[in-house]
């Protein structure tokens, strides 16, 4: 058994690509080896700023020998066929065996394929693996026939302490690597095995393992904060990134000048994080941001890092001066005064400007506020101001601070606290792990924002495709579902979308049609055809209010609504996936076509799911399926449906009478329970149907010889079906 050590040494690999590249390298090499019958005991992959490393243990020195049997031509086949077979196998006629088959005797070649030396196989497959490595972005560079992420400088490839000879990207494999760019002596380091390799690198100030670098950074950060009476504000994403930017991470602490400390902490933190990759610290007692920052250098400097800290502090000063400048400038104007500036920001080519969007959201937020009992005036005010921070300098510089800044500026303008909160929280939830807004005003604006977005993009046909969702509509729908369900809000989506629709169509009308009519009329007037101009003007304007236009509009709305509700149905499935809710039950309730209140929908589905778990539920479902199948077959045969109430006088058997009676009372109480949203009770009523249904199928023959009796019984089954459909479309339920 032997070990493999492989290292690809290059110019600096982008931090975001390193970890995945190491994983891909492992996957490709492992795959190629197992395809060739080479198994191993262990494998580890490492990544860092300048190298990808793979260490494998327990590889055999040779591939296993394989015995291969090849069937040849029949013994009585023409000589040419045998010659061909001999050439192909490299054997002589004497070496062939003869096998008896039902079709006659055939030649059989038994070839012993000797396993090749592993080192030879490695030399062959490794360059192929490297060439297949899927970098997100790769480049050509002088001297290399293939692409790599950045110029490749060295390859270490040792198998059992011996160099595996090959060439890739113009580089010949060998047994030397390099240490840290500045902290090593810059001389090539000879390696044999993984153990001495890892140690030699460590001596040359390279920590091979990214996880180890992360651990060092994290511990040093915590310790450095602790000795100053501070604590680290954790930032997992940043930690991953900085671990990919240093081979020998050293934590240093710098100071933020006091003049910046009254700038909102979000601005400081974002500026430090995005521009400089610094960590922020806070006072554990107050939770307030501290006037210190932590930087991760790649250097043990001769002066203990004095120059490095001083340099970073200076850079930060310039950065924060910029940020502070924007913050100061921004507050010189009110948010209210910025709303008009939104006319200059295009929201989407087909959907006009941000200003138009704000007008829609404002109206919609008012309507929703009324529904959910929020302060209508505050909701409309908040919606009006919610997007105004997009025109501020801070948000221009740091788009991720949208909303957060809106709140600061609103408070600065002495807006109501609910309005200010809504400016920040109406974007929520921004992802599956984010919280949803809980105050009424924020909820109204958040819903208006998301529902307008959904209706608008569906209305112009920009719906998500299988993989693409450029306008984050799935997130908007999931956010809507989260807000409604977690706050137990009762809203009819149809109603909200109808409001949006009216607004859209009237805007379209005003924007597209009316000006055309007006222009035509004006043109006629200028030409002196006053009377005609008036006629055109009046008639055409009237036309717009005509039933035909209304018809078209309502048709459009219906088609948008169908698409939107289907979209919501799929999102509900995603949202409820974690709770183990059955998809078929969601379908069953949605396909009634009347359920557009997500809270009620969930209650219905949950009641249904627990009902179906009971014996009564399962049996009733079986009874339903039987009834539905019979109905389907008979409807097809008779080419008609069996609507209408069954006639009492045609009921003769006790079981059919009993079922008819049970259905009579059940129908009324299920309808009443559903109306009162007592779904559990409705299920209780349904449970009582099980016995009469079972008894009916047990004793009653539906297809009676008397056609009238038959039809009456079919009507009874149709009634059973319709009664259950008051709760859900049972035909969509599986099992």
């Amino acid at each position: 058994m032997a070990d493999l050590l492989l290292e690809l040494f290059s110019e600096e690999i982008p931090a975001r690509m390193q970890v995945q590249a190491a994983k891909d390298l492992e996957r490709l090499v492992v795959g190629a080896l197992s395809d060739r019958g080479l198994l191993f005991e262990g494998v580890r992959a490492f990544s860092g700023p300048r190298r990808l490393t793979l260490a494998m243990s327990g590889l055999p020195a040779k591939q296993p020998d394989v015995k291969e049997e090849l069937k040849g031509p029949k013994v009585d086949a023409p000589a040419a066929a045998l010659d061909g077979f001999l050439r192909k196998t490299g054997l002589t006629k004497e070496q062939l065996k003869i096998e008896k088959t039902p079709k006659g005797d055939v030649y059989l070649a038994v070839i012993d394929r000797k396993g090749r030396d592993t080192i030879e196989v490695l030399a062959e497959i490794l360059p192929e693996c490297f060439a297949k490595l899927p970098w997100p972005k790769s480049m050509r560079f002088p001297g290399s026939p293939v692409r790599w992420v950045r110029p490749l400088h060295g390859i270490v490839c040792m198998f059992d302490a011996e160099v595996v000879p090959f060439e890739f990207a113009g580089v010949t494999s060998g047994n030397t690597t390099m240490g840290h760019r500045f902290l090593s002596d810059g001389k090539p380091i000879k390696v044999r095995h993984f153990d001495d390799y890892e140690k030699a690198l460590h001596d040359a100030h390279v920590i091979l393992d990214a996880e180890q670098r992360k651990a060092i950074i994290f511990e040093e950060l915590k310790a450095a904060a602790f000795v100053r009476g501070l604590e680290l504000i954790p930032d997992e994403g940043l930690l991953d990134e900085v671990a990919g930017l240093a081979e020998w991470p050293v934590v240093l602490i710098g100071a933020i000048q006091d003049e910046f400390m009254d700038v909102p902490p979000e601005i400081l933190q974002t500026s430090m994080r995005t521009h400089q990759k610094y960590f922020s610290l806070r006072d554990p007692k107050t939770g307030k941001m501290a006037n210190r920052f932590a930087l991760i250098s790649n250097m043990v400097a001769e002066d203990g890092g004095k120059e490095i800290i001083a340099g970073n502090e200076r850079v930060l000063r310039a950065r924060l001066s910029d940020a502070k400048f924007f913050w100061d400038q921004d507050r010189k104007r009110t948010l209210e005064s910025r709303v008009d500036d939104l006319k200059n920001i295009v929201f989407h080519a087909k959907l006009g400007t941000q200003y138009e969007r704000v007008e829609r959201i404002e109206a919609l937020a008012g309507e929703i506020a009324e529904k959910i009992g929020a302060d209508v005036a505050k909701a409309k005010r908040a919606a009006r101001l919610a997007k105004a921070d997009l025109t501020t300098g801070v948000v221009g510089e740091f788009p991720e601070l949208q909303g957060v800044m809106g709140r600061y500026y609103a408070l600065h303008d002495n807006e109501d606290i609910d309005v200010a909160d809504a400016a920040r929280d109406h974007y929520k939830p921004v992802g599956p792990s984010d919280s949803v807004p809980t105050s009424n005003v924020s909820i109204a604006v958040a819903l208006a924002d998301k529902l307008d977005q959904l209706y608008a993009f569906f209305a112009v046909g920009e719906t998500p495709t299988g993989s693409g969702d450029p306008f984050a509509l799935r997130r908007a729908a999931l956010g809507t579902i989260g807000i409604l369900s977690q706050n137990k809000l009762r809203i009819s989506l149809t109603e909200v979308f109808a409001w949006s629709s009216v607004r859209f169509l009237s805007v379209a009308l005003v924007r597209e049609v009316v000006p055309v009519v007006d222009r035509v009329a004006l043109g006629l007037e200028e030409l002196g055809y006053d009377a005609l101009a008036h006629k055109v003007f009046n008639e055409q304007r009237e036309q717009l209010a005509s039933p035909k236009y209304a018809e078209e509009a309502s048709e459009k709305f219906r088609s948008h609504l169908v698409l939107l509700m289907k979209f919501f149905k799929d999102r509900v499935k995603v949202a409820l996936r974690g709770k183990g809710t059955r998809h078929d039950l969601i379908d069953a309730v949605f396909s009634l076509g009347i359920e557009d209140d997500l809270v009620r929908l969930v209650a219905r589905v949950e009641a249904l799911q627990s009902f179906l778990k009971t014996d009564e539920g399962a049996n009733l479902l079986a009874g339903y399926k039987r009834a539905a199948n019979i109905l389907k077959a008979e409807e097809k045969k008779d080419k008609k449906t069996f609507d209408g109430a069954p006639e009492a006088k045609l009921l003769s058997l006790p079981e059919e009478k009993a079922l008819a009676e049970a259905l009579g009372s059940a129908e009324t109480s299920i309808a009443a329970d559903v109306k009162a949203e007592k779904f559990v009770e409705a299920m209780g009523v349904m449970a009582k149907l099980r016995a009469p249904v079972d008894a009916f199928f047990d004793k009653v023959k539906v297809n009676d010889d008397d056609p009238k009796v038959r039809e009456n019984r079919l009507k009874l089954l149709a009634r059973l079906r319709d009664t259950l459909h008051l709760v859900a479309d049972f035909s969509k339920i599986e099992g």
């Binding site: 982008p14 972005k137 480049m139 560079f141 110029p151 250097m299 001769e302 002066d303 120059e307 490095i308």
Partner: protein, 299 residues
């Protein structure tokens, strides 16, 4: 190690250093441009098979960045030091680090990092992969391996290094207000400040860029340059170099119009596409000229 003390020392140091690495020291190109990359010594010479090494200072004009001399480090006219090496030598990173040592940034005392930053110029139809180089958290250079220019693959690949001279000098001199930079030291020991040389220029040019530039004239100029460029590239002329001058002039006109705020978001993309079309045509024509290593079929 002595630090390059003044702004002009910095330029002289870099020139001497790169001259020693075999770069021709060229002078600034005499047409307004947004970055040193637009100099034909980079744009055009990056194309075709001929080896090429050059370094030069290029005044870079970015009308929109004007701040009337009131911002600590933003300028509508500043200097870039540009190095281009074709093909990129395999030790180009080491050569670059050598230049930092030369200007007094000792890697033993500083934290120097190559942080992913890919470069793209939509107007030139050019892109490459590389890094911004950080010294103690400050970007001191842009380092790019050219992959395409004018939509044409660069083969061999060039290495391009751009130093923002004012920013670098501010770092080396420990100055926070660009106009305080020591531009030069006179024989009598007097220090001439950057502001003495350029403050008035920033004030007046900012006013020109944002308020006074006649947009009608600029729109007309843009059209004229575009027309002239296309005429020079007509099949039988193939005047790549004069045509390319027209292309950069059109690009600068566009930048001024953009600063004047008269180009809408949608128009913006269209204008950039028009300049890119010119740049591409110039690059294609260049490859048909002797220096682009066109080999006549019937010699």
């Amino acid at each position: 190690m002595p630090k390059a003390k003044t702004f002009q020392d910095l330029i002289l140091t870099l020139q001497n250093y790169w001259a020693k690495q075999g770069c021709l020291i060229l002078q600034p190109y005499d047409v307004e441009m947004g970055a040193g990359t637009f100099h034909p010594a980079t744009t055009l010479r990056a194309l075709g098979p001929r080896p090429w090494r050059a370094a030069y200072v290029q005044p870079s004009r970015r009308p929109k960045d004007g701040r009337y001399g009131e911002n600590p480090n933003r300028l509508q006219h500043y200097y870039q030091f540009q190095v281009i090496m074709k093909p990129a030598p395999s030790d180009i990173q080491e050569l670059y680090l050598g230049s930092l040592r030369e200007i007094g940034l000792d890697p033993a005392l500083h934290d120097i990092r190559f942080v992913e930053d890919d470069w793209e110029s939509p107007t030139l139809g050019a892109w490459g992969l590389g890094w911004e180089v950080w010294c103690d958290g400050m970007e001191v250079s842009q380092f790019t391996y050219f992959q395409q220019v004018g939509g044409i693959d660069c083969d061999p690949v060039s290495g391009e290094i751009t130093y923002g001279l004012e920013r670098l000098a501010m770092y080396v001199q420990d100055v926070e207000w660009v106009y305080d930079l020591a531009f030069a030291e006179q024989p009598d020991g007097r220090i001439v400040r950057y502001g003495e040389v350029f403050l008035q220029n920033e004030q007046e040019q900012s006013a020109f860029n944002f308020e006074l530039a006649d947009t009608e004239i600029l729109f007309q100029h843009f059209k004229d340059y575009e027309k002239q460029c296309n005429e020079l590239l007509n099949a039988n002329k193939k005047m790549a170099l004069p045509a390319y001058d027209q292309c950069i002039k059109a690009s600068h006109c566009f930048n001024l119009l953009d600063a004047r705020g008269v180009i809408s978001v949608t128009e913006r993309a269209a204008y950039i596409a028009r300049v890119r079309a010119l740049a591409k045509a110039c690059c294609e024509a260049w490859l048909e000229t002797p220096m682009g290593d066109y080999t006549p079929r019937f010699a």
